[in-house]
Each structure stands twice: as C-alpha cells, then as structure tokens.
Amino acid sequence: MREDGLLTQKFDKLLIANRGEIAVRILRACHELGIRTVAVYSDADRNALHVRYADEAYHIGPAPARESYLVIEKILDVARRSGAEAVHPGYGFLAERAEFAQACVDAGLVFVGPPVHAIRVMGDKLMARQTVQAAGVPVVPGTEPGLNDEALVAAADQIGYPLLVKAAAGGGGKGMRPVYEPEALPGAIAAARREAEAAFGDGTVYLEKMIEGGRHIEIQLLADAEGNIIYLGERECSLQRRHQKLIEEAPSFVVDEELRRRMGEVAVAAARAVNYVNAGTIEFLLDKDKNFYFLEMNTRLQVEHPVTELVTGVDIVQEQLRIARGRRLRFQQEDIRMRGWAIECRINAEDPYNNYLPSTGQITMSRLPTGPGVRVDTGVFTGYEVTPHYDPMISKLICYGETRAEAILRMRRALEEYRIMGVKTNIPFHQHMMESHRFLSGQFDTKFVEERFSMNEREPADVMEAAILAALVAHRQGQQASQVVAPGERDTSNWKWYSRWERLRR
C-alpha cells in the first residue's frame, strides 16, 4: 500500500458495493475481463438485475440504504466470506467516503478508485480549492475558508455581486444561497450557516462569485499508479434541474480543439496535485467569455461516463479495473481521438407534467430501444418495483451520431421507441428538449431547465385520437370479457365485432 492509501494489485474476484444500473455496468465490464463478481443486495433487491447477472450474491440487510448498502462493515464482511479481492464502489453510496476506501485497503482489498488521500482532499471543498489553486488551476473568485461574518461582508465588495454563499461541506445545493445585492448578504450567510450546520454538522461557509450564463463542462481523466494522467475530452452537463443532471453530451457545443486542450491540461494538473489514480472528473464552470473555473473533482466513476466512451471508443470501467490491477495506461494523450457525438438522457420515474413529482410503482413493461447507435444502461426490467428507497433513475439512454444533429435525431427515434409502463417517466421532458430550439442551437446554460424551459403540452390531435381508439379497444375487450359472465346483457353487434377480431388475432 502507498502512503496515501492506494493499493493496486492483480485480482480475480471483485465485490460491487452498489446496485442498479451502475452495478450492472460494472458486472459487465468484469465479465468481459474475466473477473468473477460478487453482488450484494438488500431486501428490496433480491430480484434485481445486478443479483441475477453476478456470479455470486449476498444479502446485506433491509431496503433502506443506511441499513444495507451504506454499512461498511457488512460490505467488508461479504468480501471476507466470498473471498473477493477488490471492491468497486460505483457512484453514490460509499463511492466518495474516504473511510470506506481506507477500510478496504486496511482489509487488504483493492479499492477500485483513487488513493484515500485524494478522496479526502477533493471531498472537502475548501481544501480542494486551495490545493488546485496552488497547482495553478483557476477557481471562481471567492474568499478563503473560515472567515467570520464581518470578514465575509468585507470580502463581498471585492468579489462583486451577484455572488453565492456556499457551505464548505456537502453538496447538492444544500447550504447554498445566491445574493444579488449587499443588503441581502448578512441574512444569506446566516441562513446558509444554519442549513449547513443542520445538514452536515458544519456551518463553515465561504463566498464565491456567481458566474451568470455559465455552463457546466467537465473533463474525464484516467490516471495510472505510475503517474501517467490523460484526459478523454469534455462532457457538457449544463442541463440540470435542482442540481441533478438530466442530459449530458460529448463533446460540448462550445468547446473547440484549443479550449479542450487547455481545459484538459488544467484538469490533469489538478489531478496531479493530489497524486490522483484511476478514473476521475474535474468539473468546471465555463463563462460566456470562455473562461473556465474549477468547481470540484468527482473522485469516482460518473453516471454520464458512457457519452465519453462512445466518442473516444475507450471503455472507462474496464480501464478502471486495469488501473486498479496495477497496469500501466494503454493510451498516451495523443492516442485519444474523439469521433462523432453522443448524448445521454437520464430516464427518471417522475412526472414532467406535474412538477417532476417522483412516481413509484411496479414497471409493468420495459421494452428498450435498440438498433444502430443506441445504448441503454439499466437495472430495470418488467416487474421491477420503483420504490422510494433508491434514486428514481430508470435507465440511461445514450445515442451516438456522426454529428450532434444526428445524435439528437437518433435520440428522438429512441425515445419514441422506448416502451415503459407502470410509472410516469420524464421521457416527454426529453422529447420536448430534443425539439427545443435553444437546445438544438446549443444555446443553454445551467439555469436553462429551471428558468427558461417549459413543458407546454404537445397535443397533436391525430395522436390523441389514436390514444382514444386504443383505450376504446381495450375498454371493449374488457367489457366483452365481463359479458361472458353476464350473458343476459350481451350486445350482439359487439359480439360480431369481437368474434371477427378474435378470428383475426389467431
């Protein structure tokens, strides 16, 4: 083990400390590399795809993640019992918990991810900011950590308005407050401190300049244990709602070859500052003048990694496993060439017509789109229960095209082909977006979905009439079935229709 908490060595059996589509994604990569797999499952997941596709599976407790997928000791116990030699954390759950990575290496298990030290530094926003700034990486203008309220107010004038009050710990927008004028600052600082204290047990806040019209652009990195680091181009993830990414693409509409190289090199420098190893992502905010600022580093595999895989041809999860096995990177920077365009739509169980309310229930049908240029990563199947225990993502629908326009047109085709029933999904949201002029022309920023996009009901009259006729057919069929039981109420004209229909169905 290295001093910074990195253990790399060959392994033949790996435990996947996750569930859902990402567990399936990792299982497939292992299968393709000849690595045997161990799945863990909660009470809610005995029938899950990740259990069925794994070589071995172990039960680890009740449905709530804090009693199963988040319990480090249970994961390590299964590793011991199954003889697993490595652990892949996926994303979410324990993926960015330094103590989990530490516990793995302490137990002699290869943790498929970065050194413990890198997780720890990058997991603390302020430490991360200081570390990369020292390495020459541009950060959003703002204050140092730990200032008191008076110092913050004084610093605010130098930074200029609008600005953001942000919590040092945590994420997901908690403890964050936008401030547009000096008068509002004291109140915002107080509110952010309260929220951060409640959410993370740490009320430390700092100020950051608000970048208006900013785009979320991130750089995918791969780094081996010998210190070789390369970037696999950028992803554009500006289409978000409540800090949840909804649509990602690679490359970005606004990044040219020169900017890509500059952002890539800066990202590599940021990673090098923490002796990073394995796959990781540097998130940047890109302003209208093409200035970019470090936001944070995700020290793990990301949900949206497939769009990079499609345009670079590199299998990022397989590379993660190779790196963790102690292998040197197979690529040099000049080997990485992007070709074509890829877009990912996250299909969530939520109602886009009703304030994106989550929708739970049993998936009564799941027929995936397929054919040229379409990839679906999912853990959902016919009969799957969408429960409130886990996140509402049903699948990732990823389309490739030679150009951005072709990828979009293919996405429209794939969205229309998707058959999913039992819960409401945000497929109509994606369909609207794929037809939105702003999206088509690449003119959007991180506020676009929340502030300038709406689901005006599309009601092509003829499709609605078809929907009605389909319902009518089903209705009559149900009626006929019940009339078999109640022959006194038979309607002969119906029967005639029905029998003709039955005859034709043979």
Binding site: N354, L415, E465, I468, L469, K496, W497, R505
Partner: protein, 171 residues
C-alpha cells in the same frame, strides 16, 4: 354503438359504424387493430397509419403510452355516460379536488390551512421522498376544505393529504 372518451378536459364522441369503421368526433377511421402477445400492446392501423400503443387500466382510467407520451383516457358507453351525468359523477372541473401522496414519504411542510383560498399551481404540501423535496400543487383554483396531515407526518402512497373545494361552496 356510441362511446364517450375523455382525455384531461377534452371530450370525444366515438361511434362504431361497422366492424372496421369508427367515427371520432364525426371523423371516419378505417380501423384495424391487434392485441399483441406481449402484454398489453396494441398495434393499430388507422386509415393505414400505423401506431403502437401500450394500454393498461389503473384507477378506472386507461393509461395509453403512445410515442413516449402517456395519455389518461376515460371511456364510457353512451348509457353509462348518461347515467353518470344524471348522477353527477361524470368528470367535471367542479367538485372536490383530492390531493393524495404520490408516494410514501415525510411531510416537510403544509403551507395551507382549511379555509385558505388557493390558485391552481399553488403549493399545498411539501413532501420529502426519494431524497428530494417535492411540492404538491393545487390542480385548480378553490378553497382548502380539509388538511388531513401535518408537518413531520409519515405518509403512505395514495394517502389523502388535502381536499380542495369550489370557491363558492360552503366551507
């Protein structure tokens, strides 16, 4: 045979003329349909136009998935429709609007109280579920008749939370 179909607040009249001829709001369609072996999938040819729909019944409504959109359709034959009308139970924009919990969760806040006047789109309940705060909104203008939950309560799916009545109704 005549049917009435409703989608949202739109109403359609359907007449079945012959075995394969259907009129929707007076417009003629030559209809050929098959139920496929795969669950509740129907293939329709309407004047040679091809459409595939998935149709399932839920809470007395037909859920129809067509080209990515989910339509909720209510179908009644003429007699049932007339009876319902007479009894006043036909779908209508007046009457009570019941706000149910769409999923299990915890009530974060109930920003309304009985007697409050609400506008369509006003938030009436904030529910935390699936790691997110979800705002449940009034489906139409009205007056809050009853609040059946409170902050901090754990609620089940489909549990009634708030009932909104007509503005002119007696409280």
């Amino acid at each position: 045979m005549k049917y009435m179909a409703m989608v949202g607040d739109k109403e359609f009249t359907i007449e079945i003329n012959h075995e394969y001829e259907i009129l929707v709001n007076g417009e003629r369609y030559e209809v050929d349909f098959r139920q496929l072996p795969e669950g509740s999938v129907y293939s329709l040819l309407l004047n040679h136009r091809s459409l595939e729909a998935v149709v399932e019944e839920r809470d007395d409504l037909w859920q129809v998935l067509l080209r990515g959109e989910l339509y909720e359709v209510q179908v009644q034959d003429e007699r049932a429709y007339r009876l319902a009308r007479a009894r006043g139970t036909a779908v209508s924009v007046t009457g009570e609007a019941v706000i149910k919990s769409p999923m299990p969760g915890i009530i974060i806040k109930v920003p309304v109280a009985a007697g409050d006047v609400v506008k369509k789109g006003d938030t009436v309940v904030i529910l935390e579920s699936m790691k997110m705060e979800n705002e449940l909104k009034a489906p139409r203008d009205g007056v809050v008749k009853r609040v059946q939950t409170q902050q901090g309560a754990s609620v089940e799916k489909n549990q009634v939370l708030v009932i909104i009545g007509d503005p002119h109704e007696e409280g």
